[in-house]
Amino acid sequence: MEENEYRGFLARNRERIGKGWHKFSRNPLSIVGLTAVLLIIFLAVFAPYIAPYPKHAGKFVDFAEASQPPSWKHPFGTDVVGRDVLSRILFGYRFSLVMAVIVLALVVPPGVVLGLIAGYLKGKWIDTVIMRITDIFLSIPPLVLALAIASVLTPNLFNSMIAVSLMWWPWYCRLVYGITSSLRNEFFVQAADVIGAGKGHILLREILPNCISPISTKMSLDVGWVILLGAALSFVGLGVQPPKPGLGTMVSDGMKYLPDQWWTAVFPAIAILIVVLAFNLLGDGLRDLLTAEEV
């Protein structure tokens, strides 16, 4: 009998998901973004198998082939040391995506939890404490903060992720704070309280599910920004260290050889542009989808 059957999340939401996809797919830019993102993820994951010259992503030198312009053999040319630019870009995507994933994983949980607590207990001292700390972090120009932290620590990818995380978490805290402080007066939250539910339940099971949409949207838009920030850090030498192929590092290296060997700087820069744009389009599509739910 149907009513006995416990239907999982996907089955229950089938119509909603279908409707959502229909709306999402109406916007061609969102589809472009989604396709590009999926493609980039695929390329990054399978880089060792797809890249024509996987070994070029590490320590590799071949001065015979150095500084070759784009050709059939090397579609994006080779850099000053003879490494294939295309292969390095593919591996560079790996670093970018890993950075985005790890930064968001580090940033979202604490930001969300603090936002929930501060929003629900609005007016009490804990709200003031959390939000003022948030304000402090938000008032420092992001790049300056990231640079300061990254230069104190040993420059490498991991530490640049720490730096970016430290300046990113307040945004999630604020986002969730705003939603929570308005939701806490809704009848369904009051009802849970009147029933006797504890604060933990109210925050995690009543309020948080209503924040998932804005959080997801923000996360997908943030991926682009984190990648950009990571590239900026690599560009000034605080991120991915040579010979590893960070996209920012590649642009920085290639800059010295402009305009003659333009391909060593331009293609990595375009690669950054594409990945940031792709995630932005995807994020915009998600936001339009999730914020205009009811007609």
Binding site: E2, E3, Y6, R7, R12, E186, F187, F188, V189, Q190, A191, A192, D193, V194, I195, G196, A197, G198, H201, R205, E206, P209, N210, I212
Partner: protein, 331 residues
């Protein structure tokens, strides 16, 4: 007075004030005197209709009783125990016994939780049943309010207003409470649906011996539902009486004003309305309570004393109380 059973809930001079922030817009701090000294009791077989307009404090009083707000002053006794200063340990047990149905079905159910999850919450919090029994209990609750079990997996957005309100009632019943507060449970519903929900509530009242504190602005509804009616104005009760007597002989000028303003649908009802008392002025806000009798600025029969001294509640007959200078000193 018909015996309505033992007193389940007793309020004595209950007050709820909200401090006004001393901000840029206010010259001084002060209080919003939302509830300003309310005294009544609700008995086992009672349906007490608490009627008032916006600013009367009726909803605030309801929320204070279920501890959404803590009372500023006064005494609340429930089932014989003083719960005014209840401590955290006993609070949960209390919450099991007194529940509330909110006014807006649209926002009283979490849109991101299925009906089953919403109904499971009270069972889980109070450790009622477990596992499979819980699910069959939820199905039972749904059938009590007239909804098929299939609704368990649905989200509130798939339900109509009336159906959502039934779920809200089921949720309130889940802990087998001894007392139910209903805050305008049908105001947001169409009139053809209201009857069904009210009938359901009456059936539940009889079947489970559940007293109700029925908060509403709809006097016509109370004429048909309440055992006793109390009118609230600016945080105080101005008149309270058993239903038949209340409507047969409304004493307080505000009550007469309310009754004469109701847009009725039949000619017989027109004849039952008191003589037209033209309402003048605005409903004042509980921030600026007029001195003396709080109703005097709008009262068509006010006397000099009314702006100076606040009248005490009298007992006109055994059960008919009124707070008005017109009736003071008549005993």
């Amino acid at each position: 007075m018909k015996d309505l059973g033992e007193a389940m809930l007793v309020l004595e001079q209950v007050k709820k004030y909200f401090p006004l922030p001393r901000g840029i817009f206010e010259r001084k701090g002060g209080y919003i005197k939302a509830v300003d000294g309310v005294t009544f009791s609700v008995h086992r077989e009672d349906i007490l209709g608490l009627v008032g307009e916006s600013g009367s404090g009726k909803s605030t009083l309801g929320y204070t009783l279920v501890r959404i707000y803590r009372p500023t002053a006064g005494k609340i006794s429930f089932l014989g125990e003083d719960i005014t200063r209840i401590n955290r340990g006993e609070l949960k047990g209390f919450k099991k016994k007194m529940q509330i149905v909110f006014q807006d079905p649209g926002s009283s159910l979490n849109p991101r939780r299925t009906i089953e999850q919403t109904l499971e919450l009270p069972l889980r919090v109070h450790s009622i049943d477990g596992g499979k029994e819980r699910r069959s209990r939820i199905r039972e609750l749904l059938s009590v309010v007239g909804l098929p079990g299939v609704y368990m997996q649905k989200y509130p957005s798939a339900l109509s207003g009336g159906q959502k309100q039934r779920v809200a009632i089921a949720r309130a019943l889940a802990t087998e409470p001894s007392f139910l507060i209903l805050d305008e449970p049908t105001s947001a519903l169409d009139v053809s649906v209201q009857g069904k929900i009210i009938s359901l509530l009456l059936v539940l009242h009889n079947e489970f011996d559940l007293p109700y504190l029925f908060i509403t602005h709809d006097l016509s509804l109370m004429r048909n539902v309440a055992t006793r009616v109390a009118i609230m104005y600016l945080g105080r009760i101005c008149e309270m009486a058993p239903t038949a007597e209340f409507f047969a002989e409304p004493l307080h000028p505000y009550t007469q004003m309310l009754l004469s303003s109701i847009p009725v649908v039949t000619d017989e009802e027109e004849t039952l309305k008191p003589k037209k008392v033209t309402s003048t002025g605005e409903v004042p806000s509980p921030v600026n309570v007029p001195p003396g009798c709080s109703f005097h600025p709008r009262c068509p029969v006010k006397m000099d004393i009314c702006s100076q001294i606040d009248p005490m509640m009298t007992a006109e007959t055994d059960a008919h109380h009124v707070r008005c200078h017109l009736y003071l000193g008549r005993d």
